[in-house]
């Protein structure tokens, strides 16, 4: 089979990416629309972005969302990394099947079920709903995504490096922090970012598990969207898209550069320089 550009491959990629990106591009363009009617172009304007800054309810929601996302992504990364290590390195322990089941199930579990289940748990144990229940729920579903991302890196991991450190008398705890963690770090960082955006975006699980005083941005957007499309929502969405896109692009550039440096270092090491 010939590599490269056949007309079929080019067409399918072009159409596919047009389909994926056109709605987002239109949304961004119409956030700069001067007209209040979202679908009628009334000239370029940034007034909707300015009006966001004075919308206190929205700013409060954004602040709650960011705090929950930072806290839950960080804890989910720790728990998810531990879970990945447990899955890859100690696959066979009592209850291992249950464990891997609990890690993979949240990836596909319909959110309405997870949300309802967690809410009923919090009610059953009498935990006041709000910021903390929201955070606990986000940690739980996003740690499983972190586990899968880190696991895929651990599977291809060269264990002889760890074994060498252990043979030379390095304690396991230190071996982990000096050998294992630096090598799986790109996956851990990617896992953190995934957990962060999952938390930032979540609507369904948040709606179930939150309480008074902890309204997140997606919940706010959702309640406004139900009333209709407004340029103001387009503006918030554009900001969120810009944040996520910048983060993902920077991360991929950094990862690529590190990879190139690593390969160069390996070549130099082989040549004995």
């Amino acid at each position: 089979m010939r590599r490269g550009a056949s007309w079929f491959n080019v067409t399918s990629i072009t159409l596919g990416f047009a389909f994926l990106y056109l709605p987002i591009v239109l949304l961004v363009i119409y956030s700069f629309n001067a007209s209040k009617l979202v679908t009628v172009w009334g000239g370029f304007s940034t007034k909707w972005y300015v009006s966001l800054l004075t919308n206190q309810g929205l700013l409060d929601a954004a602040w709650v969302t960011i705090r929950v996302a930072l806290l839950s992504a960080t804890l989910a990364t720790v728990l998810g990394t531990l879970a990945a290590i447990a899955l890859v390195r100690f696959g066979r322990f009592p209850g291992g099947t249950l464990f891997s089941g609990m890690v993979y199930a949240p990836l596909v579990m319909p959110e309405v079920i997870t949300g309802l289940a967690m809410l009923l748990l919090f009610v059953a144990i009498g935990f006041a709903r709000g910021f903390w229940t929201l955070t606990l729920a986000h940690i739980t579903f996003s740690m499983c995504f972190v586990a899968v991302v880190v696991q895929s890196r651990l599977v291809t991991f060269d264990r002889s490096l760890e074994e060498a450190a252990l043979d030379l008398g390095c304690p396991p705890f230190r071996t982990f922090f000096t050998i294992t963690l630096p090598l799986i770090l790109p996956a851990v960082v990617a896992g953190w970012m995934l957990a962060f955006t999952l938390s930032l975006d979540d609507l369904v699980i948040s709606s179930f598990t939150t309480g008074p005083g902890a309204t997140t941005l997606p919940m706010k957007i959702y309640s406004q969207v139900r009333l209709g499309v407004t340029p103001e929502i387009n503006a918030i969405c554009t900001i969120l898209i810009a944040i996520v896109a910048t983060g993902v692009i920077i991360a991929s550039i950094v990862t690529k550069r590190r990879e190139v440096e690593r390969q160069r270092a390996e070549r130099l090491a082989i040549q004995g320089v």
Binding site: M1, G4, S6, N9, V10, S12, I13, G16, L20, Y21, P23, I24, L26, T39, L79, A83, A86, V88, R89, F90, F99, S100, A105, M109, P110, E111, V112, I113, T114, L116, A117, M118, L120, L121, L136, I139, T140, V148, S152, V155, E163, L166, P172, F173, F176, I179, T180, L194, D201, L203, P218, I221, V225, V229, N234, L240, V244, A245, V248, S252
Partner: protein, 304 residues
């Protein structure tokens, strides 16, 4: 972690690595499902929380036995009596099944084209697929409202070109739900497909071509069978969450678009009937348990 040595300090550390995430998931993922089952067997009450506790473990075993005898399956009976519920389940399964098939047909050529692209292009293309996947689900669904609604961009375009003289009523409708699901879940199909297609050994296809096998036949005899693990993973990743989808049918669908996620949400937030919504969730889980277990097996195999 480097914890395979079996001395006692190591094994304690090793035990912790397993125990911490294990306990977390048992307490916050597994236990909640048991509570859902318990509450689905309770009677509805006008109170906060709005249900009569079915089991109270603090009262001792004798009382517990008494309570066990009083567990009611009324909520489940109720689900079978009201056509709304089973129609929602059936319609969800139908919508999810058709969407999965559509996404496979649309996603396969894209993943194939990506895997056959020049190597220096592939990382960029991959990132372009992942990027919308990182963008909020809600935002991506919202973007379609502006396009599909009666006075939306699609109708404006078609009217100005002169293809139609009356605005089409695409949204709200079930058709809009299909568009929304296909759009939102497409990356979940492309990514596993791309992963398997990229690893495909091309010498097999060269051998087939050398032996005079036409490309289309080579595709069905070699490429497609070898990409099956990706097809299976992609289909599960799309189908299972799509059955319980709430945001898409709620925002793009009409009142006649029944989906069980929407029904559960309304039961919980509008009717405040916690026991019935728990019963809805238990039945939904029972329907999905087989696909979920198949998905887990596929995942486990892929990671070994």
């Amino acid at each position: 972690m480097a914890l395979t040595n079996s001395s006692s300090g190591h094994s304690r550390l090793r035990w912790l690595v397993v125990a911490i995430p294990y306990l977390w998931l048992i307490l916050l993922f597994l236990a909640p499902f048991l509570i859902v089952v318990k509450i689905s067997l309770s009677a509805t009450a006008i109170a906060m929380p709005p249900y009569q506790p079915a089991l109270d473990f603090s009262a001792g075993l004798g009382v517990l036995w008494q309570q066990l005898k009083e567990l009611s399956f009324d909520n489940y009976v109720f689900l079978t009596e009201d056509a709304l519920y089973w129609e929602s389940y059936l319609s969800s399964l139908k919508i999810a099944l058709i969407s999965t098939f559509l996404i496979l047909i649309i996603g396969y050529p894209i993943a194939y084209g990506m895997a056959r692209a020049r190597k220096e292009w592939r990382t960029t293309l991959l990132m372009l697929v992942i990027l919308p996947f990182w963008t909020s689900f809600l935002i991506r669904v919202y973007a379609w409202i502006g396009i599909l609604k009666p006075e939306g961009l699609l109708n404006q375009l078609l009217l100005s070109v002169g293809v139609i003289s009356e605005p089409l009523n695409i949204m709200p409708s079930t058709l809009a739900v299909y568009i929304g699901i296909v759009y939102s879940y497409l990356p979940f199909m492309i990514l596993p497909l791309y992963a398997t297609l990229e690893k495909l050994d091309e010498t097999l296809l060269e051998a087939a071509a050398d032996l005079g096998c036409p490309p289309i036949q080579a595709f069905w005899k070699i490429t497609f069978p070898l990409s099956l693990p990706g097809v299976i993973a992609g289909c599960f990743l799309v189908f299972i969450p799509a059955v319980g989808e709430f945001v898409i049918p709620d925002l793009l669908g009409g009142s006649d678009t029944l989906m069980i996620g929407k029904t559960l949400w309304a039961e919980f937030f509008s009717n405040r009937d916690w026991p019935v919504s728990s019963a809805v969730a238990v039945v939904l889980l029972a329907i999905l348990v087989i696909p979920i277990m198949l998905f887990q097996n596929a995942q486990k195999k892929a990671s070994e």
